[in-house]
């Protein structure tokens, strides 16, 4: 007898479970920020507890990789020597440019924003999915991190904060399919949108005039939209195999260990139109509303006239 009931009841229960799960998916689709906040809290609870194990294992795997490179030690040495020669030439050039830059800044009396400071975080974990490109940092709201701030490695922009927990924060990388960053291509000043597509070199979209952009040009953030600070190095333009303009990122994505999160302070929005530009208000003695006493006198004189 119980066998007869067990099957339908089981069906109903499993059907209910599936319905709840699909409803959860629909809820995510409709009100994504709320569910994502819940996800951030959940990850914030779970992942930093693995902190003690994640970092050593990562380092150990990295060491195994380094051991494997012993096999090709000689070739590597030769290559490094060559690169070192080239680097020396570049270093000279860089030093001269730095001096020149300092002189020019001095001449122009440029004030560099003193508020641009950073918080450095260690990469705890990555997204765990081959279809999403993001990493988890061990700094969070507790350390004053806010959503939208830029994350860089030593050289270039890596991504921006999207998702914040108490102890952790998620950096969505420039290569993620959901990443859109307003950029500027340097010598020509063309503005474009860098939109990730899960490939190592994200393409440039909405270039104003693609003829002016050449492979080799430098790409920096433009600061449009007021989320990221302007002028952070992103990478170099390359022509992709599909004849699209793509950006080879300056940051070393193969070795994300420490990231700097730039504290960009809220830009003060200029909302209302400017007030009337008028000469400074004169003292009450000159124009101003008339004091009461003379008015009373005038009224009195009028009465005496009439």
């Amino acid at each position: 007898m119980p066998e007869d009931y067990a099957r339908p009841i089981r069906r109903i229960l499993v059907g209910g479970l599936v319905l709840v799960l699909v409803a959860l998916f629909l809820l995510w689709r409709i009100d994504s920020p709320r569910v994502e906040r819940f996800r951030a809290v959940l990850i914030d609870r779970l992942v930093p507890n693995f902190d003690w194990a994640l970092l050593p294992v990562t380092k150990a795997v990295g060491m195994i990789g380094s051991f494997q490179s012993y096999a090709s030690l000689y070739e590597q040495n030769q290559r490094l020597r060559e690169e070192l020669q080239q680097m020396k030439a570049w270093k000279e050039a860089a030093l001269q440019l730095e001096q020149q830059n300092a002189r020019l800044l001095d001449l122009n009396q440029v004030r560099i924003d003193p508020k641009l400071m950073h918080v450095t975080g260690v990469v705890l974990a990555d997204s765990g999915s081959p279809f999403r490109q993001s990493v988890l940092l061990n700094v969070g709201a507790r350390d004053g991190i806010r959503d939208g701030w830029a994350a860089m490695d030593g050289i270039g922009l890596v991504g921006r904060i999207a998702g914040l927990g108490q102890r952790s924060s998620r950096v969505i990388l420039l290569t993620d399919a959901n990443s859109r960053i307003p950029v500027m291509v340097q010598p020509s000043g063309q503005r474009a949108l860098l939109s990730g597509d899960n490939l190592p070199a994200p393409p440039l979209d909405f270039v104003e005039n693609a003829d002016l952009v050449r492979p080799g040009d430098q790409v920096v953030t433009s600061g449009d939209g007021g989320v990221l600070p302007a002028g952070l190095l992103v990478g170099q333009v390359v022509m992709g195999p599909d004849r699209r303009l793509r950006v080879r990122l300056a940051a070393d994505y193969g070795r994300l260990e420490f990231l700097r999160v730039l504290r960009s302070h809220d830009l003060e929005p200029i909302a209302d139109p400017a007030g009337l530009v008028a000469p400074p208000l004169p003292g009450p003695g000159l124009i101003g509303p008339l004091p009461l006493a003379p008015a009373a006198g005038m009224a009195g004189s009028g009465a005496s006239d009439g």
């Binding site: 699909v22 994640l54 795997v61």
Partner: protein, 179 residues
């Protein structure tokens, strides 16, 4: 006796959860931060299907739902959808456990392969219906192929290491009941 029976079942459930945690841990390691690498097989799916096919009593539906939902949240997938599909697939296999008990491994593999492809297609269809941007078709199919080819490995490993196998004719559990 009851303790013995329950200890086998509960031991396997514990092993399943431990395997899931280890898998999440490995996938969360920040090693693959370069975009565009090929996706690996979905071992979690292989394990669930293989165990449900062999010993449905080891994996009750709530446990499957809980583990896969956690995976959904940790791996940045839209929560719930994949879990619902996996629960449905497990239920499909569970309902046919008596029928498929006599199948040869090749036929079982074929069935699982078809099931995995159907799951992936349904997942993508739901994405398309909900207008959610999704990764390229080829990319997703590479993952499905990887899962299909690692299925025999998972089966062999769980048989050798954990003794998860289809109950033979007339096999009894620790309480002497027919399986």
């Amino acid at each position: 006796m009851v303790d013995l029976l329950h200890s086998t079942i509960w031991r396997h459930r514990a092993v399943f959860v431990a395997f899931a945690l280890a898998l999440f841990f490995l996938r969360l390691l920040p090693l693959g931060t370069v975009a565009g690498t090929w996706p690996g097989p979905d071992l979690m799916l292989c394990l669930i299907l293989a165990w449900v096919q062999r010993r449905p009593d080891y994996l009750p539906t709530p446990l499957i739902a809980l583990v896969v939902l956690t995976e959904d949240f940790l791996m940045l997938r839209p929560p719930g959808l994949w879990t619902a599909l996996v629960v449905l697939a497990a239920e499909f296999l569970r309902g046919r456990a008596a029928l498929t008990r006599e199948l040869s491994f090749a036929m079982e593999w074929l069935m699982i392969a078809v099931l995995m492809v159907v799951l992936a297609l349904a997942y993508r269809l739901a994405f398309a219906l909900a207008l959610v941007p999704q990764p390229g078709f080829g990319f997703a199919m590479v993952q499905v192929l990887g899962s299909i080819f690692s299925y025999p490995l998972v089966v062999a490993l769980s048989r050798v290491a954990l003794g998860v196998h289809k109950p033979a004719m007339g096999e009894v559990d620790e309480r002497g009941r027919r399986l």
